[in-house]
Amino acid sequence: MSEAIIKVENLCFQYPGRSVNALQDVHLEIAEGEFVALIGQNGSGKTTLIKHFNGLLKPSKGKVFVKGKDTTSLRTAELARSIGYVFQNPDHQIFAETVRDEIAFGPKNLGFSEERINSEIERVLKEMDLDVDLDEMPFQLSRGQRQRLAVASVLAMEPSILIIDEPTTGQDWKESILLMNLVQNLNDKGHTCIVTTHNMNLVSLFASRVIVMKSGNVFLDGATQDVFRREEELLTAGIKAPDVYLLARTLIPQVQLGKPLTPQGLAELLNTQSNLG
């Protein structure tokens, strides 16, 4: 296991004026290069936790380390170099008049040279499979293209950690898959990826590790296929395992799963079993 790129120790957080802690004693380590899904009910603390990663919130108690540095000692702008955050709604993020300015904004603020910025623009458009005119107005792009532009502008800052907040909002399955495939490519290149979503089918297809939040706490944390086999506990956290896990539980309860289960994977398991029998 490689070194922790994010380390959370004893983290408690209380929003001003509230009596209940939004986060209660959270412990967590995320290693470089992992693909993690952060799931849980609305209000379980996912967003509050993520805001501690990018320094938008600072702990009431405990510590958060990003690349070994305590986030209380870092400015949010410094953290932006390590952590890229893609908003749920791209229109909350996009503000520039042209595609070029949108992508260049982050790197410019980080003091990148013009030459480097131009090569970043070219690189991220290619990585996000965006075939658009640099002078085009972002709001004239389709919704799916705007979402990819939002990711591209974050990528231009070369963050080693990418956080994607609900990639399915306003998109259909096909568009969500397109975006997640691109995120997967980045993960293959070594980026650490953290995705929050309510779509468990998407989690099952992409994440190798699942962290379940419940009432401000880490409730379950483990390999995707192991977490999704704990159906009863998941239900108490507002999560339903994908149907293939429920089907597997009845049909092949004894089989050990080495990787997340897909319909095709389950069919193969059933088929092998019946050929053996």
């Binding site: 799931i39 849980g40 009910q41 609305n42 209000g43 919704r143 799916g144 399915t168 909002t169 306003g170 998109q171 259909d172 399955w173 096909k174 568009e175 898959i177 309510h198 468990m200 089918n201 239900l235 507002g238 999560i239 339903k240 994908p242 149907d243 293939v244 429920l246 089907l247 009845t250 049909l251 319909p263 095709q264 389950l266 069919a267 193969e268 059933l270 088929n271 019946s274 029998g277």
Partner: protein, 284 residues
């Protein structure tokens, strides 16, 4: 066959300032008590169709409309929207935007007071819907402190308190966690049993498969298919060609069939899948 309640005839619509038609020659009839799922990729025209049914298109969202939609014989483009809203209730994706009062009870009662209904009638409807959506114990809570699923149920309760004959849920579960989404689908199933007509625009096919009798598939403003839910939702190749993710249990059986397992018909839900796969395993 029961009575038709929504009749859509050769409906086409182009939004003002747009060139591309949002709906093209759409025709169908929905009868009282049906549970119809509408599916299709983004930009298919699903929401536009919902708005054309309740008259928001073209009365509030303007454009060029051809053909007609009739709701209980009334043309939806000419009947005042508040008159149609007593027949058709609609709940959309972002319930939070729809909630405006400080507790659940007020949220439900407010529109009823606007209808100048007698107090006893308001009370009767409030008690009925608040129990129906299982929020009796939360009635004095501020919507802010509710979970996403609860908020969405408040929106459904408020819509139902108007006693519409048809309830339209337009992606009403898309921002909910899985258990919250399941709650809304169960509620929709219960409404069908009580005789309400339910129309559900939904991306979550696994959940939709539980209660829908009939599916309308739309793509780029047109109806591609309209028919029996079981037949359409188990057509794995067709759904995938549209970028729609078929129910996982159906996909599993689909792959087994390719490996030679002989299903009479592909299962659509967990119960069917468990039964048919177990039966085939025994016979092998």
């Amino acid at each position: 066959m029961s009575k038709p309640i929504i009749v859509c005839s050769d409906l086409s619509f182009v939004y003002k300032d747009s060139k591309k038609p949002a709906l093209k020659n759409v025709s169908f009839t929905i009868s009282e008590g049906e549970f119809v799922g509408i599916i299709g990729p983004t930009g298919a025209g699903k929401s536009t169709l919902c708005w054309a049914i309740n008259g928001v298109v073209p009365q509030i969202m303007q454009g060029k409309l051809k053909g007609s939609v009739e709701v209980k014989g009334k043309p939806s483009n000419k009947t005042p929207v508040d008159e149609i809203s007593q027949i058709i209730g609609i709940v959309q994706q972002d319930a939070e935007a729809q909630l405006l009062m400080t507790d659940i009870e007020k949220e439900i009662v407010f529109p009823l007071e606007n209808l100048s209904l007698p107090r006893e009638e308001i009370h009767r409807r409030l008690e009925y819907v608040i129990n129906l959506v299982n929020l009796d114990e939360e009635r004095y809570r501020h919507p802010f402190y509710l979970s996403g699923g609860q908020k969405q149920r408040v929106a459904v309760a408020a819509a139902l308190a108007m006693e519409p004959e048809v309830l339209i849920l337009d992606e009403a579960t898309s921002e909910l966690d899985p258990v919250g989404a399941e709650e809304i689908h169960e509620l929709a199933g219960r409404l069908k049993k009580e005789g309400k007509t339910v129309i559900m625009v939904e991306h979550n096919i696994d959940e939709l498969a539980k209660h829908a009798d009939r599916i309308i598939v739309m793509n780029q403003g047109e109806i591609l298919r309209d028919g029996d839910a079981h037949e359409i939702l188990t057509d794995v190749n067709f759904l995938q060609s549209l970028g729609i993710y078929p129910p996982q249990v159906t996909q599993t059986a689909f792959h087994l069939r390719e490996a030679g397992w002989q299903f009479e018909r592909l299962p659509l839900n967990l119960v069917e899948a468990t039964q048919s796969i177990s039966a085939l395993r025994k016979s092998q």
